[in-house]
Amino acid sequence: MYSLLLIGISIFAGLLGSILGLGGGIIVVPALTIFFGVDIRYAIAASLISIIATSSGAAAGFLRDRLTNLRLAVLLEVGTVLGAMFGFIISSKIESSVLFLLFGGFLLFSSIMMLRKKSDSHSNVDHPWSQKLKLASSYTDENEKLIFYKVANVPFGVAAMTIAGMLSALLGIGSGIFKVMAMDNAMKIPMKVSSATSNFMIGVTASATAGAFLLRGDIRPEIACPVSVGIIVGSWLGARLMPKMPAILIRRIFIVVLAIVSIQMILRGLKT
């Protein structure tokens, strides 16, 4: 019964994550800890596995549609993998209560960021690193128009990805919101390319920590397998249902739910 409930929640997390453009981690970790009472370290490890599954699936589609900037993704992955290493080392030294507080804080940040109106950034200047590595590229928008873009603030982007990688390892999330924000605001990359490139990188970031967690014994198949299967099914359903769903209404409801869950996680952190 509990296993079925977990699969159901994971399907829901995958479905919602797919509609809202988020990973399922920010839904699965609170569900596992608050509803099932699972230790937050097991919840984080299980969530990382599901992130690899959804990111790899989504990355395949974005790569086919030529939205992912593969050259930029490889460069930024240096930062995310480095951050994931730091995050893994820190995770073994800190208490569960700190993880609850960090997770709660990140959820609150995510809900505030979701209120932000999305608009495309544009840079007239190509950073010297971008010129050297030919990171400037183009994509085709929904009107079949070819849009060219340049890449600004590359060193800042790599530094921001290190923080994103650390958050991913510590909290079992893809930290896509953080990655997209850095690429959009600081590096001036169009939103569609930022989202696709972020999704492409998430798998590698999560894999860096998931491998270490698996070897250490934090990834328990009894939790990770139902969560991953549920999230894969949910994401698949979400991608098909997306055009028929009232995404704006769901987004508004989700922001409220996220804010409530974040407060619960912070309170849990303060209690333990």
Binding site: M1, Y2, S3, L6, I7, L32, F36, G37, V38, D39, R41, Y42, I49, I52, A53, S55, S56, G57, A59, A60, L63, R64, L70, R71, V74, L75, V78, V81, L82, M85, F88, I89, S92, S96, K132, K134, G203, V204, A206, S207, A208, T209, A210, G211, A212, F213, L214, L215, R216, G217, D218, I219, P221, E222, I223, C225, P226, S228, V229, I232
Partner: protein, 121 residues
């Protein structure tokens, strides 16, 4: 010039097929270890790390094939992004983009170091 789209499409197919294979292995693991009664998550309320090699040996000794299938699915899933990085490095070498190929190899080495941390701590 044709190598770029070809290999990118191949990476895309590789990721898609990899997720499907891993998904089926994980599903087989879930079905074979499914518990209809009780709370199977009760034991995970307290953190107790059991290194992978000890866990695998235990399941092998007790012939718990469902758990072994689950672990196989997890390993397939975790190795997908690593193989993807290797394929990306090959793509850049074919395009004679040696700077980017070196960066991809640095990412690969980073992944290896990160994995090794799981042994040491």
């Amino acid at each position: 010039m044709n190598t770029k789209p070809n290999l990118e499409i191949k990476i895309s197919w590789f990721l898609r097929i990899g997720v499907i294979v891993a998904g089926f292995l994980l599903l087989a693991g879930v079905i074979s270890t499914f518990k209809f009664s009780g709370n199977p998550f009760f034991v995970f309320q307290v953190y107790d790390k059991i290194p992978l090699q000890i866990g695998l040996l235990h399941h092998l000794k007790h012939q718990q094939w469902g758990m072994l299938l689950s672990y196989t699915g997890l390993i397939v899933l975790i190795t997908l992004p690593i193989i993807r990085v290797i394929l990306t490095a090959i793509l850049f070498i074919r395009q004679k983009e040696y700077h980017l190929a070196c960066i991809a190899i640095v990412v690969l080495l980073g992944l290896m170091v990160s994995f090794s941390l799981g042994f040491e701590i």
